[in-house]
């Protein structure tokens, strides 16, 4: 028998090596793939959880982030949601808006914008509710949500009451989506649980612990129909949404059954996920079980947190990827076709083992290195207080929850492997990360990252990954609606290859992403044709385009505008 280990040492050895140190990926690059530019560009936001030591669940569930062009100047600004239980001795922390300047730096414009929502913040949804060309902002809270209308002059007005919005519970991810095709963006708001702050929970070892969602009653989500006059009507009951209660956290909108009507996929924590299929008659039918997207491969519920919809295997069908608790995998549901549904292929696509030790929240699928396929970024942080990982970047007791992030590279066939040391700037920080929004923040043709940490700094990562191909950015605009056509499905034809992407803002966890569609094209030097299915189901074909540029497709014109 060999010498025996001692417990204290072994407890650390029990964890897997950090993913970015993994040698499975490409050879180490001389260049870091990402650079944390937060300090350099003036992003100084630090999330305050409001933790008081009572282990209240809302303290660790927040930190949504958004990328939005609130001032219409063509570049992306940042919105960071703050937490904080309101206590009597000091004012609550407020959300922050940072405007991007021409030189790429950011200025905190919260005070002048009026977007400093003081609620106990969770997430954010962005959309132009009145088709005036200016994006409006919906903030989800533990407590009443708030809707802010963009006046078009850099300021916002709280119109929650005037709009008839009354969502008082614990809201998490939200999405603006025109489910009834009337041209106005409706609003879906996931509801977590009926939280009771007086409940106390313990770990299996009998230590005080954060309660899990099953301790509290589940709550149905909320669907608000936009009346087109600046007001909303709660249609949760009429549409069937109120008929199912769960602990909703993540949402993504996509026409999964390819009938031209947008459907809704909800990641539920410890409950079966929902796949609300649009009935095209104003209602929805929940079909996740028979379409294979409710449970994992074993038929078990998982702790759904964040979700992304993307064509992960280049077969032009939009797949799903849902992040989960540790000791569950993050789950890759492959779309097998509109009549067949989904299959959990996590193990066979290489996405099982690496995610097991971590609790995933924010998630994004984009072509990190422009080689022509969608890669994955998952940001992590625990919900249970376990032994701290070595090298945690946060102070006790938050180190008990801190975890590194994950970056996976797609080999072009839908198989993934850890990215190796290239993205270490993103992976190495061991923090309590929740929100993740992606977009071309510096307008250089690749996708950058904004992450939100609980009780820690937001981080802005510039993508410096060595480029393995070309790219095209597409902004689909419906001039009748005066805004980006959220939900437009865009197909690029490049020789034999077809690339399918959808314009969306709601994705990831509590976050809002860049709605411009980004295509990594690999070696393709020209796009031969562009097909668009607009959100109302109309198909339109546009001519091809040169690559390595941002173009605009304006509905009804058939022309590609540089």
């Amino acid at each position: 028998m060999t010498a025996m280990e001692v417990w204290r040492g072994f407890a650390i050895a029990g964890y897997l090596a950090l993913p970015c140190a993994c040698t499975d990926g490409p050879e180490p690059e001389a260049v870091d793939w990402f650079t944390d530019v937060s300090a350099e560009v003036g992003l100084d936001f630090v999330h305050e959880s409001g933790a008081t030591g009572g282990l209240a669940l809302p303290e660790i569930m927040g930190a949504g982030v958004a990328l939005l062009d609130y001032d219409g100047d063509g570049d992306l600004d940042l919105y960071l949601v703050n937490g904080g239980l309101v206590t009597a001795d000091r004012p609550p922390p407020i959300n922050r808006l940072y405007r991007q300047e021409a030189d790429g730096t950011f200025v905190d414009v919260t005070a002048e914008s009026g977007l400093g929502d003081p609620g106990n913040g969770m997430g954010v949804a962005v959309g132009d509710i009145d088709n005036d060309g200016h994006v409006d902002v919906y903030v989800t809270n533990y407590g009443p949500d708030a809707l802010y209308r963009n006046r078009g002059d850099g300021t916002f007005t709280d119109i929650t009451l005037a709009a008839g919005i009354d969502v008082p519970g614990w809201s998490c991810s939200a999405a603006f989506v025109d489910y009834d095709r009337d041209g106005f963006l409706d609003l879906y708001v996931t509801q977590y649980v009926d939280f009771d702050p007086s409940r106390r929970c313990f770990s299996a070892a009998g230590k005080p612990e954060f309660c899990g969602p099953k301790v509290f009653a589940p709550v149905p989500d909320v669907l608000l129909r936009n009346n087109g006059d600046g007001t909303f009507t709660d249609v949760s009951v009429a549409t069937g949404i109120a008929g199912r209660a769960a602990a909703g956290l993540g949402i993504v909108c996509e026409d999964f059954n390819d009938d031209g009507w947008v459907d809704l996929y909800i990641a539920n924590d410890a409950y079966p996920n929902f796949l609300w299929i649009n009935g095209t008659d104003g209602g929805f039918r929940e079909m996740a079980v028979s379409l294979g997207a409710a449970y994992n491969l074993h038929g078990e519920t998982e702790a759904g947190m964040g979700v992304v919809a993307a064509d992960l295997d280049n077969d032009t069908l939009v797949d799903l990827f849902v992040t989960h608790l540790s000791f569950e995998t993050n789950t890759h549901y492959r779309n097998l076709g509109p009549d067949v549904g989904f299959a959990d292929v996590t193990g066979e696509t290489g996405l099982a083992a690496g995610s097991m030790p971590y609790t995933g929240f924010g998630v994004a699928a984009f072509d990190l290195d422009l080689d022509g396929d969608e890669d994955l970024v998952v940001v992590n942080g625990r919900v249970n207080r376990l032994q701290p990982l070595p090298g945690a970047w946060v102070e006790p007791p938050w180190d008990l929850l801190a975890e590194p992030n994950l970056v996976y590279l797609n080999d072009g066939t839908g198989s993934f492997s850890p990215a190796g040391p290239g993205p270490s700037a993103v992976c190495d920080p061991i923090e309590v990360t929740r929100g993740l929004a992606v977009g071309d923040i510096d307008s250089d043709g690749d996708i950058d990252l904004l992450i939100g940490n609980v009780q820690g700094p937001a981080r802005l990562y510039r993508n410096d990954t060595p480029r393995l191909g070309h790219w095209l950015g597409v902004r689909g605009v419906d001039p009748r609606l005066n805004r980006v056509a959220l939900g437009a499905r865009i197909t690029l034809h490049c020789g034999d290859r077809r690339f399918v992407r959808t314009s969306r803002r709601a994705s990831s966890y509590l976050s809002s992403v860049d709605p411009r569609v980004h295509f990594g094209l690999g070696p393709a030097r020209r796009v031969d044709r562009i097909d668009v299915r607009w959100p109302d189901g109309l198909d339109e074909t546009f001519p091809g385009s040169e690559v390595d540029r941002m173009v605009e497709l304006i509905r009804g014109t058939g022309k590609v505008k540089p």
Binding site: L16, K207, A217, M287, L291, G299, V345, T346, P357
Partner: protein, 474 residues
């Protein structure tokens, strides 16, 4: 040197040689070093005491595989996985012939997110030591399936079925593996077997739904999905070793889990024993109070039951189930007093605030109001129940009966017939509608319904009523 001295030296030398050879060929078993007690700061006292107690055993018997294994199991039960793995390794080294230690080591290494190949090898080792223990194969199959090795997973599930042909979880696993191998027809066959052996398993019906859809049978897929939706639990592996590990747990959560499991098994006295331990440390947990109330009611201690249920509703106003149980206990009393009836109605009304569409709440509330003489209110509630569950005959039947008692016979007949369209085998609905029709003088129709009721249940009073009515006609 004398001969005697030489002999002594020779003997001594041979002893040394023999001893050296013995040492070479027979290594004494190395005793594991005693390890630190896990950090028990802030732990529940029972958990800390259990850890200390089993740790002491190891200190006293460091060469005992059982002592190490026992400590490993206590750590395992309390999710101290790193410590458990360490102990199981020691136990395995000291007793390499035992299946239990590699099996449990595999399970905790899984919890530590160890590479799946390592865990798979541990399960294989365990299976080699005890080939007749089906849970080993089932867990190995699930591990392989989750890591994209469907074919190897299928082989493991088949081994489990060779040991236990009626093992539902193995049929389910094999069906899942076959589905992953894109063999939906074979998957359907095994999943149907799983459903036959465990008809209440939610996961089986969920996967069966996918298998049907992949086979092109959309109707069956929808129907299986609906079946799955109506079920609350997924079958777990019946694993005696795992159960023994769980039994080592002494945290409040363990006692609470045990209490709930015993309620499900119908052992309410055992449930109370466990739940009272939880209530010692968590007196403000409304669910524990509710489960205690439920258990006391089941063993015929209504006063104690009501006390705990009232506690539960005080601690969590939204606990619908506790309101309903308390109300039903009151309503079931032999000599119900007016204030008790009022109290029951109050609890049901409070439950209704939080579950406005709940047909059970509506049915009890309607019935209680009717009993108090608030017939109009009862009718409104029964109508709400019928609207909330348009596919169920029960609420429609209640509404009809309330209408009949109210004297509105035409409306009652209409509602009974509605109930019978939903459930043509509802004997009482046939009987009651016959009574109403008889009172309305529609004798032929009444006879037809009495006949139906008597045919469905020959012992039902409908048979006598039918005889009487026929005699009267003659």
């Amino acid at each position: 040197m004398t001969r005697r001295v030489r002999r002594i030296l020779a003997v001594a030398a041979s002893v040394v040689v023999v001893a050296a050879l013995a040492r070479m060929f027979h290594r004494p078993q190395q005793v594991p070093e005693i390890i630190d007690l896990p950090d028990t700061t802030a732990m529940q006292p029972r958990v800390a005491a259990r850890l200390r107690e089993t740790h002491r055993l190891v200190t006293q018997h460091p060469a005992s595989a059982e002592a190490w294994g026992r400590l490993g199991e206590v750590c395992h039960a309390h999710q101290l996985y790193a410590e458990a793995a360490s102990c199981y390794r020691h136990a395995r080294s000291l007793a390499p012939e035992r299946h239990r230690w590699p099996y449990l080591l595999a399970r905790v290494r899984q919890k530590q997110a160890a590479p799946w190949e390592e865990v798979d090898a541990l399960f294989a080792d365990a299976a080699g030591l005890r080939p007749d223990y089906a849970p080993t194969y089932v867990r190995q199959g699930r591990l392989r399936l989750g890591n994209g090795r469907a074919r190897e997973a299928a082989a493991a599930f088949e081994q489990a079925l060779a040991v236990e042909p009626a093992l539902a979880v193995a049929h389910r696993g094999l069906g899942q593996a076959l589905l992953a191998m894109d063999e939906p027809a074979r998957a359907v066959a095994h999943l149907r077997e799983a459903a036959r052996f465990a008809p209440e398993d939610r996961a089986t019906w969920a996967v069966l739904s996918q298998a049907y859809r992949r086979s092109g049978d959309r109707d069956a897929a929808v129907s299986a999905a609906e079946r799955s939706r109506g079920l609350v639990r997924t079958s777990t592996i019946a694993d005696p070793i795992g159960a023994e590990v769980k039994a080592m747990g002494v945290s409040p959560q363990h006692y609470a889990d045990r209490g709930v499991a015993l309620i499900r098994a119908g052992d309410f006295a055992g449930a109370i024993e466990n739940l009272r331990i939880v209530a010692e440390t968590q007196p403000d947990d409304p669910r524990v109070q509710m489960y205690l109330g439920t258990s006391y009611a089941a063993i015929g201690r209504p006063q104690l039951a009501m006390h705990h249920l009232a506690q539960a509703t005080r601690l969590q106003e939204k606990l619908v189930e506790a309101h309903v149980r308390l109300a039903t206990l009151l309503l079931e009393r032999d000599e119900l007093k007016r204030d008790e009836l009022n109290r029951a109605i109050d609890h049901l009304a409070r439950a209704l605030v939080h579950a406005p569409e709940d047909t059970t709440v509506l049915a009890w509330l309607g019935s209680a109001l009717h009993r108090r003489g608030d017939v109009d209110e009862a009718l409104v509630i029964f109508a709400r129940a019928a609207a909330a569950a348009p596919e169920q005959a029960g609420p429609r039947y209640n509404l009809a009966t309330a209408l009949m008692n109210h004297g509105d016979l035409d409306a009652a007949v209409r509602e009974y017939r509605h109930a019978l369209r939903l459930d043509p085998r509802h004997v009482d609905a046939h009987y009651n509608v016959a009574l109403a029709l008889e009172r309305l003088g529609r004798i032929d129709e009444a006879i037809a319904h009495y006949e139906q009721a008597a045919k469905l249940d020959p012992t039902h009073p409908a048979a006598d009523a039918l005889g009487t009515l026929r005699r009267q006609r003659r």
